[in-house]
């Protein structure tokens, strides 16, 4: 399998069992922004872990436990390298949402004072809004939202005014919008937020699976992402953060693994990153995520980005053929990640998704966990198609043909 000249979709697709199910139609899976499919090396790594070396990690003397620990920590090192950081700064959580809550609760509860401001954006996923709202309610802080303009871009002017005039303590922003596809200038945002002493958190749930992303290059304090969107399993997410941030933070969840000593008078904490991992970690899931990262690295993240950029451009052109269809977000595929949301006049997104499903095409319809953005856009739902390495132009063609038929069907 060589990928020197870009991605060979047919070859890759063979690695994904669900795309090769026996019987029935071919699955045209265009909902990778919700969750991705898994290649056999990922499934195989987890199965092999359970069949060969399953044991609890970190405290066992016997060989099996030592092997389990080694596989778990080796996975951590590979995931850390994948986003340009090191073991100390790589905390496993259950998903991206927990990682955002970790920062909001552990940092926010101890650092936010009444009147302080947390800045997020109108295009955030609920997971980067609700934790801040909960913690703000308890601390008396306020949550303000960077507005989104008609082209699906953040109003950076608003941000500079707010940084100048308000006591902004945190700026937490998504790297790629899961609805509009917009790639936000997070490095630039981090620079200006830092110059006002604010903490910068980047939600990489939609970027890390699809393009090269480096914590160091973004210059943010924390980057979160989630395993199941990057060819890995459910049940695992990541908080990648600077050791300075983590060192200065008290722990969040308490329990086994994260302690140095526990007595009835109080406790002291383990070294980084374990200080933030309470209880038995998602061991098999970490092994699976390690395999996913290996798989993506074998393809090459620059190739992944290149492939998906081309496919997104192709998709946007092809969608424009559907009568009356409008695409939300930036027009230029260079400026966007994979999610492509669109609207078809007089056909509700639910009906779109249902009708194309009968042709084996999976797309998402709804608010995409971004209700504030839906309000800004003045809609209650959109239809969204999103790709990953296993998608090719044939998938886009199938989508467009199904959309045409859905449109005609509803028009009657």
């Amino acid at each position: 399998m060589t990928h020197a000249a870009g991605i060979e979709v047919a070859t890759l697709r063979a690695d994904f069992p669900i795309l090769n199910r026996e019987g029935g139609r071919r699955l045209v899976y265009l909902d990778s922004a919700a969750t991705s499919q898994k290649p056999w090396p990922v499934l195989g790594a987890m199965e092999n872990y359970y069949r060969e070396t399953n044991a609890n990690v970190h405290r066992g003397v016997y060989e099996l436990a030592a092997e389990a620990t080694e596989r778990f920590e080796a996975a951590r090192d590979r995931v850390a390298a994948f986003v340009g950081t090191r073991r100390e700064g790589l905390v496993f959580t259950k998903n991206a949402t927990e990682a955002l809550n970790l920062i909001a609760w552990a940092w926010g509860m101890r650092n936010l004072a009444p009147g302080d401001v947390v800045v997020t954006t109108e295009m955030e996923h609920h997971s980067n809004i609700v934790p801040w709202q909960i913690v703000a309610e308890m601390t008396g802080a306020r949550v303000l939202f960077i507005p989104v303009d008609g082209d699906g871009q953040l109003d950076l002017q608003w941000l500079s005014v707010t940084l100048r005039t308000e006591p902004v303590r945190v700026v937490s922003v998504t790297h790629v919008s899961n609805v509009l596809g917009t790639i936000n200038p997070v490095a630039e945002i981090a620079r200006s937020a830092h110059s006002y002493g604010a903490l910068v958190v980047v939600d990489g749930a939609q970027s890390v699976p699809h393009m090269p992303v480096s914590l160091a290059e973004l210059g943010c304090d924390a980057l979160v992402f989630t395993g199941h969107k990057m060819l890995g399993p459910t049940g695992i997410g990541v908080l990648a953060a600077t050791p300075e941030l983590l060192d200065g933070m008290e722990p969040f969840l308490g329990g086994g693994e994260m302690i140095s000593d526990v007595s009835t008078d109080g406790s002291t904490w383990a070294d980084l990153p374990w200080k933030f991992e309470a209880g038995t970690p998602p061991i098999a899931e970490a092994v699976g995520l390690g395999a996913a990262v290996d798989y993506l690295t074998m393809i090459g993240m620059a190739q992944v980005r290149e492939h998906e950029r081309d496919l997104t451009a192709y998709m946007m052109e092809a969608l424009a053929e559907v009568d009356g269809l409008t695409i939300l977000g930036p027009e230029d595929a260079d400026l966007r990640g994979c999610p492509v949301s669109f609207a078809i006049p007089d056909v509700h997104p639910h009906d779109v998704a249902q009708l194309v499903d009968r042709e084996g095409v999976c797309v998402r319809a709804g608010h995409h966990c971004a209700k504030p953005l839906m309000r800004t856009l003045g809609v209650t739902a959109t239809t969204r198609a999103s790709t990953h390495v296993y998608n090719g132009r044939d998938d886009v063609d199938a989508l467009v043909a199904a959309l045409q038929r859905a449109r005609n069907f509803m028009a009657g």
Binding site: H348, H350, D351, Q354, H367, T380
Partner: protein
């Protein structure tokens, strides 16, 4: 097509030509219902006189199933006694969960909602209008409810 049991002609007809669509000028009761999973909305105005639904109107925004179902609900409920309306709601609930056959006398066109049972993701869409109606009605009195069950 395979989806024909969901998108039956009668459902598409109610979607394209909704009955009782709009607002009442001076409703006895108004309720708003939302499906938090998808954002579908129904606004329902109801006027009850002498234990009977004498006027009702629905408005809202959503998919063909939720809007057609609200239309069929309005048609079925119009003129019904409160008790019969509750019976109709119970029958739709049972029907959509695949637990009982449709009672055509109670439901009218809404018998077509039977097809939704196979599409769990759409059950909430189909129920939106009916749940709004239940909220808008006074609860059936105990005696009457008992009688209602006895009659079935």
């Amino acid at each position: 097509m395979g989806l024909d049991d969901l998108y039956q002609q009668i459902i598409l007809d109610h979607y394209r030509n909704p009955r009782h669509r709009g607002h009442l000028d001076d409703p006895g009761m108004s309720v708003d219902h939302q499906n938090p999973l998808c954002g579908d909305q129904v606004h329902l105005d109801v006027t009850i006189r002498d234990g009977r639904i004498v006027e009702l109107a629905h408005a809202g925004d959503g998919c063909s199933i939720s809007q057609a179902s609200a239309s069929m609900m309005s048609e079925a409920a119009h003129g019904k006694s409160i008790e019969d309306a509750h019976r109709a709601i119970d029958n739709v609930l049972a029907l959509i969960h695949g637990e009982a056959p449709a009672d055509e006398d109670l439901l009218g066109d809404a018998v077509a909602l039977e097809g939704v049972a196979k599409y769990p993701a759409r059950v909430r869409c189909a129920l939106l209008g009916w749940m709004a109606l239940r909220d808008a009605l006074p609860a059936p009195s105990h005696a009457e409810k008992g009688a209602g069950v006895g009659q079935q």
